[in-house]
Symmetry: C2
Subunit: 253 residues, 2 copies
């Protein structure tokens, strides 16, 4: 990691806990509007998230669709509520235009995992800490203000008119940082994201999170243990400790 000059972080799931945050907003909206009290809001949030994955993946591979995740989230919400025989039909009558718009923006109001902010604060003393998300720019700006995320710079796939894991997204980010991909490391809780980054020539750092890569994260290993990613760490703070120690080591040599 000695040559790394920029750490490029995935955001949803890696830096922020989307599930807890969105489920809380869905539940609150449900209670405000008198929706069925037994609605499984976690299942609702996960289905919404799965739809986001499917849509952005399709567009990343050349399919048509909106370049803003706000638009993706809204289209998916409408489809979940309005499709005939949807399992969420009990909710439909209560959620008007304003509620739908507000819930779409719940993805701008996500709380950070406890280690994210202290880890990033420490890391930015040593390297550039950049966001690189499929979320649109405004979403990422609102989220950084809401959760006090101290990005040095925010990159959104929206700027490059496609989505991760399209290799152009990673290469364009490195280009704008004036760095060769080998001097950049992608940090994510998703193997598919790191595979895209590796194809572009970036280093890869996997941080498993309880809500992400469910079922596979336990099997993911670092190269030194026979795996495919450069590092597998438990938190952003562990990554910060590595950089702080490496810097001390370099200063002593």
């Amino acid at each position: 990691m000695d040559d790394i000059q920029a750490l490029i972080f995935d955001v949803f799931g890696t830096i922020v806990d989307w599930e807890t945050s969105v489920v809380a907003e869905l539940k609150a909206a449900g209670e405000r509007h008198g929706s069925a009290s037994d609605t499984d809001w976690k299942a609702f949030a996960r289905e919404w998230r799965e739809g986001y994955y499917a849509t952005t993946k399709r567009i990343a591979h050349g399919g048509a669709g909106p370049s803003s995740v706000d638009a993706v989230h809204r289209e998916l919400l409408d489809a979940m509520l309005d499709t005939p025989e949807s399992k969420w039909s009990a909710v439909r009558p209560f959620w008007d235009e304003a509620t739908r718009q507000d819930l779409t923006l719940s993805w701008h109001r996500l709380h950070a995992w406890p280690d994210s902010i202290p880890g990033l604060q420490s890391l930015k003393q040593h390297v550039i800490v950049a966001a690189l998300s499929n979320g649109n720019v405004r979403l990422l700006v609102d989220m950084a203000k809401f959760a006090n995320i101290p990005w040095d710079v925010i990159f959104s796939a929206e700027l490059f008119n496609t989505f991760k894991p399209n290799v152009d997204v990673y290469l364009s980010t490195c280009k704008h940082l004036s760095l060769p991909p080998s001097s950049c490391a992608m940090v994510a809780a998703h193997a598919w994201d790191l595979e895209g980054a590796a194809k572009a020539g970036l280093k890869t750092i996997y941080i498993p999170r309880p809500t992400e890569d469910q079922g596979i994260s336990k099997d993911i290993k670092a190269k030194k243990d026979g795996g495919r990613f450069d590092l597998v760490l438990s938190s952003v703070e562990e990554l910060a400790t590595l950089f702080a120690e490496s810097k001390v080591g370099r200063a002593q040599n």
Copy 2:
């Protein structure tokens, strides 16, 4: 200004004092390399800056050229030093490749005007504070880290493959902020920049600076005084005071 949700700031000259910073680096390099001690470094810096203006303006109007200001600065420096009969020929023999590269990067190490940082810190409590510069992304990231500029988000004309005052730069910035231009205000120490922003439909705030728009800044007036810009203010801190008072006003209504 009640509807303004984002303030979009020019950087060189408006937020940072490029002249003092670059002249100091030129002078230090001159002394290190034994260049003629009577070199007029302020004139050197101003000629460099004028070259930057001429090049970016040409490209903004559709001309060919590099999209990164780092490349523009380096090409201009080489031309100033290497052109036969250049008035800087006394300097030429001393400045090797490493010095030229380091001086090109002096544009990443600019100090803020005294009111800029406290003003931006206050403003970001109320609105999105964005950079929008012709400087390339990496330059703006380095400068923000160097001078502790608390941007919520950094936009560079490099992202849009042209330069200000091309109207696409302002419109693309508003689009990525998910805001209509009328909810955004451009803040700059350059009339030409605000004229471009006004063409795109943004509000305009002029802050005169001693090094910028020399000779014309004193004649620039706000609309209420018969001028063409929405506001003419003395500092970023004065702008912050206006926003803080406006917010108190809104909260009391």
